[in-house]
C-alpha cells in the first residue's frame, strides 16, 4: 500500500515537472500566457509530492517491508534503527530518489520564496530545473524503480553487512548529494539567466546562497570521505587521486571558483561570462562524476555496484543537459555584455587569477582521470596516479596560493602596490623564514617544502584583512572569508607535514618487545582473542608512550566477521595535538611473533580540521548573506507598509 502510494506520488511529481517545463516554455515565449502562472505552484506541489514519495520509502525501510525488492536487498530486521534509516539512501535507487527529492525541494523553495529576479528569469530558471529533473524522473521510473515489489517476499533481508553500518559512511551520500543538487540549482539559474539575457548582480545575489550551501556540503562530504578512508582502509592514506575521489573533487573545484565569481558579479557587476560558465561547468562535473562512478567505465577501489545500462541512461542525461547548456552558452556569447572594468592589481584581478587557476586544476584532474579511458579506446592501458597529479597540479596550485594570500588585501577596482606593500612584505618574510628554516633543519622534498611555506604564508595572510577594522562590527561574510582561507592553510599544513615527516615501522614483534617510532616507544603487551556480536578478532594491546611520558593503551584488531564472512583490520589511533599514532595488527609471523604496522603521522589530523574550518567559513558567510537578505526584505516590507499607510 505504502509502496504503491510512493510510486504514485513519484509519477505525479514527474507529471508536475512536465507541467512546470511546459508552462515555463510557453511562458517564455508569451509572458502574458495564463499557463505561465502555473510554473511556481507546479514547483511547490512537485516538492510536496516528492517529499511524500521519499517519506514512503523511509517508512518502508523503517518497517523493513520485505515485499519491496529494494528493502529485501538492502535491509535486515535486526539492523539498528539508525542504519535502517540510512539504508534508504545507501543504494542506487534510494539515492536517486533522494537526489530528485532534494532537487524538487530546492525548486519548491525557489518557487515559493524567490521574488527578487524578473519574473521571466524565474520562469526560465524553474523550467530549466524541471528539464533536468524530468531526466532524473525518467531514469528513476523507467530504470531504477525504488518501489518495485517482489512476488514472493523473502523471510529475511540481505542487508546486514557490518561494514555498511558505520555512521560516517551512512552520512557520506546525503552530504555529497546536497552538494550536487545545490549545484543543479546554480545550473538552472545560469541557464535561466542565459535564456532571458539577465546576467545581473541580482541574479548572482540570488544564486550565491545556493552555491554556498552546496559548496559547504561538498567540502564536508569530501573531508569526511577522506577521513573515513584513512581510518577504515587500514593504510593511513587520505587521498589517492582515485577516479571516484576525483569525481567528487571536480565539482568542488568548479563550485569554489563559482562561489568567488558570483561574489564578484554580485558586488561589482564583473565576471559575467565567467560566472555563467562556471555555473554550467559545476553541475556538469557533478553529473560527470555520477556517470563515472555508476557506469563501471573506470576502475576504482571505491567503485559502486556498476551497470553499463544505467551508465548509458546517465550518459544520455549528461549529453542532453550539459551539451544543451554549453550550446546555449556559445550561442548567447555576444549578448552577455562586458561588465565593469578593473585593473590588474585589484580584487577582481586576483579573483580572475583564482578562477583561471582553479579551472586549470580542474582541467588537469579531468585530463588525468579520463586519460586511461582514452588510451583504452586504442587498446593501450596506462595508469595515472599521484606521481602525475601532485606535481602537475602544484604548477597551478602553488602560484594560486600566493594570489590567495595577497588577493583579500586588495581593494576593488583599482589598487596600488604601495598600499599593500607592508603586509606583502610581512607575508614574504614569514614565507622565507619557514622555507629556510625547514630546508636547513629537515631536508625534505620540494613539494612538501613549498606546501609548508605557502601554508604559513596563507595562514598569516588570512588574518591580515582584519587589521584596521572593528572586529565587533565585522560582517559575518568577512569572518567567513578569514576562517575559510585559514582553513586552507591548516589543511595544506597537515598534508605537507604528513607527507614529509611521517615515520613508518613495520615489525614482527614478540610479546614484550618495545618498538621505537619517532618520538614514541610502543610496547606489545599482549595479543588476545576478542569477540563481538558477529565477529571474532585477535586484539593486540599496545602501550604507547610519547617521549617517555605515561603510556596510553591502544588496541588494534584483526577482525573476522562471519555473516557475511570477511576480514577487516580495525586500526587503533592515538591522537595528540601534533599528530596521530596509527597502529594496525597483522598476522602471525614466524617464531611466535606478530606483524605490527605503526605510523607516527605529525599533524595529519590538521588536514580534516582544515576541511571543517573551510566549511565553517562558508557557513559564516552563508549566515551573513541570509541574515542580510532577511534584513533587506524586512526593510522593504516596512517601507511598503509605511507607503500604504501614508497613501
Amino acid at each position: 500500500m505504502i509502496a504503491e502510494l510512493g510510486l504514485a506520488a513519484l509519477w505525479l511529481a514527474a507529471a508536475l515537472a512536465g507541467l512546470q517545463l511546459l508552462a515555463g516554455v510557453v511562458g517564455l515565449r508569451d509572458s502574458g500566457a495564463r499557463i505561465a502562472a502555473l510554473v511556481r505552484p507546479a514547483a511547490v506541489v512537485q516538492a510536496l509530492l516528492c517529499a511524500l514519495a521519499f517519506g514512503a520509502l523511509l517508512l518502508l525501510f523503517i518497517r523493513t517491508d520485505l515485499s519491496v525488492a529494494l528493502v529485501a536487498r538492502n535491509s535486515h530486521s535486526a539492523k539498528p534503527f539508525i542504519f535502517k534509516l540510512a539504508g534508504t539512501w545507501g543504494n542506487h535507487e534510494g539515492s536517486m530518489l533522494l537526489w530528485v527529492s532534494v532537487m524538487a525541494l530546492a525548486g519548491g523553495l525557489i518557487g515559493l520564496l524567490e521574488r527578487r529576479l524578473p519574473e521571466r528569469t524565474m520562469i526560465a530558471t524553474l523550467a530549466a530545473q524541471a528539464f533536468v529533473g524530468l531526466g532524473f524522473y525518467a531514469f528513476l521510473l523507467f530504470s531504477s524503480n525504488p518501489f518495485e515489489r517482489l512476488a514472493q517476499p523473502p523471510a529475511e533481508g540481505m542487508g546486514l553487512n557490518p561494514l555498511l553500518q558505520d555512521i560516517g559512511l551512512a552520512m557520506h551520500p546525503p552530504t555529497l548529494y546536497m552538494g550536487y543538487v545545490g549545484l543543479s540549482v546554480a545550473f538552472s539559474f545560469a541557464v535561466g539567466a542565459l535564456l532571458t539575457r539577465q546576467v545581473t548582480p541580482d541574479f548572482a545575489k540570488v544564486m550565491r546562497p545556493w552555491v554556498l550551501g552546496a559548496w559547504i556540503f561538498l567540502t564536508l562530504g569530501i573531508t569526511a570521505g577522506s577521513y573515513w578512508a584513512y581510518y577504515e582502509l587500514g593504510w593511513g592514506g587520505w587521498w589517492f587521486w582515485d577516479p571516484v575521489e576525483n569525481a567528487s573533487l571536480m565539482p568542488w573545484l568548479a563550485a569554489t571558483a563559482l562561489l568567488h565569481s558570483a561574489s564578484v558579479l554580485a558586488s561589482r557587476d564583473a565576471l559575467r561570462a565567467w560566472t555563467i560558465m562556471l555555473g554550467v561547468i559545476a553541475f556538469s562535473m557533478s553529473m560527470l562524476g555520477t556517470f563515472l562512478v555508476r557506469s563501471g567505465i573506470l576502475t576504482s577501489v571505491h567503485a559502486f555496484a556498476v551497470d553499463p545500462e544505467r551508465g548509458t541512461f546517465i550518459l544520455a542525461l549528461l549529453a542532453l543537459n550539459v551539451g544543451g547548456a554549453l550550446l546555449l552558452f556559445a550561442m548567447r556569447a555576444n549578448t552577455i555584455s562586458e561588465g565593469q572594468r578593473f585593473s590588474v592589481l585589484s580584487r577582481e584581478g586576483a579573483l580572475v587569477v583564482n578562477n583561471v587557476a582553479l579551472s586549470a586544476i580542474l582541467g588537469i584532474v579531468l585530463l588525468g582521470t579520463l586519460y586511461p579511458l582514452l588510451t583504452e579506446a586504442f587498446d593501450v592501458k596506462v595508469s595515472v596516479g599521484p606521481p602525475y597529479f601532485n606535481p602537475v597540479g602544484a604548477i597551478f596550485f602553488l602560484p594560486m596560493l600566493v594570489v590567495l594570500a595577497i588577493g583579500p588585501l586588495l581593494r576593488w577596482r583599482r589598487d596600488s602596490f604601495e598600499r599593500i606593500q607592508s603586509p606583502v612584505v610581512a607575508i614574504a618574510v614569514v614565507a622565507l623564514a619557514v622555507l629556510a628554516g625547514v630546508y636547513f633543519i629537515a631536508g625534505i622534498a620540494l613539494l612538501p617544502l613549498l606546501g609548508l611555506t605557502l601554508a604559513a604564508a596563507v595562514a598569516v595572510a588570512s588574518f591580515l584583512p582584519l587589521r584596521g577594522r572593528s572586529l565587533r562590527r565585522l560582517p559575518s561574510p568577512v569572518w567567513g572569508m578569514v576562517v575559510a582561507h585559514f582553513g586552507v592553510a591548516v589543511a595544506l599544513f597537515g598534508m605537507a607535514s604528513d607527507t614529509a615527516f611521517q615515520q613508518e615501522r613495520l615489525v614482527a614483534a614478540e610479546v614484550g618487545d618495545t618498538i621505537e617510532d619517532g618520538p614514541w616507544a610502543i610496547t606489545l603487551v599482549s595479543v588476545e582473542p576478542a569477540a563481538g556480536p558477529n565477529w571474532t578478532a585477535l586484539e593486540a594491546t599496545l602501550a604507547a608512550s610519547y617521549k617517555g611520558g605515561t603510556p596510553s593503551i591502544i588496541r588494534p584488531q584483526a577482525r573476522s566477521f562471519w555473516t557475511p564472512p570477511q576480514e577487516t583490520s580495525e586500526v587503533a589511533l592515538l591522537t595528540r595535538w601534533n599528530g596521530q599514532l596509527y597502529a594496525a595488527l597483522g598476522g602471525e609471523a614466524e617464531g611466535d611473533r606478530w606483524q605490527l604496522r605503526l605510523w607516527w603521522k605529525p599533524f595529519v589530523t590538521w588536514i580534516w580540521y582544515g576541511g571543517v574550518l573551510i566549511a565553517l567559513g562558508g557557513l559564516l558567510a552563508l549566515i551573513g548573506r541570509l541574515a542580510g537578505d532577511l534584513k533587506r526584505r524586512n526593510a522593504r516590507a516596512q517601507i511598503a507598509l509605511r507607503r500604504e499607510t501614508t497613501a
Partner: protein, 164 residues
C-alpha cells in the same frame, strides 16, 4: 600462515571474453568500496586462498632507512595488478606482497628505483606504474598542461593587460 591484514583480495582470472559482470544480487551494496572487494572474493570460496607465508620482504623493511625510504616511495607509485586501483604499498594481496619483495630485494641489492620500475614496466607495460612516462601514447598528458599554462597566461595578459 595468514597474511598481514587479512582482507581477501583473490582474483583469479574471470573467464576470457565474458562481458562485464552485473552481479545483480549485490546491486544494493552501492557506495562501499569494501563491498566491491568482498564481491570479487565471494565469487571464490575464502578457503581457496594460498596458504604459504608472505614473501620475506613483503612485510619487512630494509634495514637501511634511506634505502627503505627509496623503496617505499617507489612502491607507492606501482600498481597492484589484482586490485581495483591501489598501489602495492597499500594492498594485502599476496601478489602485491611478492611485488614488494622484488622491489625491496632489488633496492637492497643496489638497483635504483627507476631501474626497478623499468624492470616491472618491461613485464607489464605502463599500466603497472602510476607515474606515466612520456611516450608516443602519453604525450598529450604532458602537452595539455603546458597548453593550459600558455592559455592561462594568454587569458590573464589579455584580460588584465587590456585595462591598464
Amino acid at each position: 600462515m595468514i597474511g598481514f591484514i587479512r582482507r581477501p583480495r583473490c582474483r583469479s582470472h574471470p573467464a576470457a571474453g565474458k562481458p562485464r559482470v552485473h552481479e545483480p544480487l549485490r546491486r544494493g551494496f552501492a557506495f562501499v568500496g569494501i563491498a566491491m572487494l568482498i564481491l570479487s572474493c565471494l565469487a571464490i570460496p575464502t578457503s581457496a586462498q594460498d596458504t604459504l607465508p608472505p614473501a620475506p620482504y613483503a612485510y619487512t623493511q630494509i634495514d637501511d632507512p634511506e634505502l627503505e625510504a627509496k623503496a617505499m616511495a617507489l612502491m607507492e607509485t606501482l600498481r597492484c595488478l589484482k586490485c581495483q586501483s591501489q598501489s602495492i604499498a597499500d594492498s594485502d594481496a599476496p601478489m602485491a606482497g611478492d611485488m614488494r619483495h622484488q622491489v625491496r630485494s632489488r633496492i637492497a641489492a643496489g638497483e635504483s628505483p627507476e631501474q626497478v620500475r623499468a624492470w616491472l614496466v618491461a613485464r607489464y607495460g605502463d599500466y603497472v606504474s602510476y607515474k606515466p612516462a612520456v611516450s608516443s601514447t602519453t604525450w598529450p598528458l604532458f602537452a595539455i598542461p603546458l597548453l593550459l599554462l600558455a592559455l592561462v597566461a594568454f587569458i590573464l595578459f589579455r584580460r588584465l593587460g587590456r585595462t591598464r
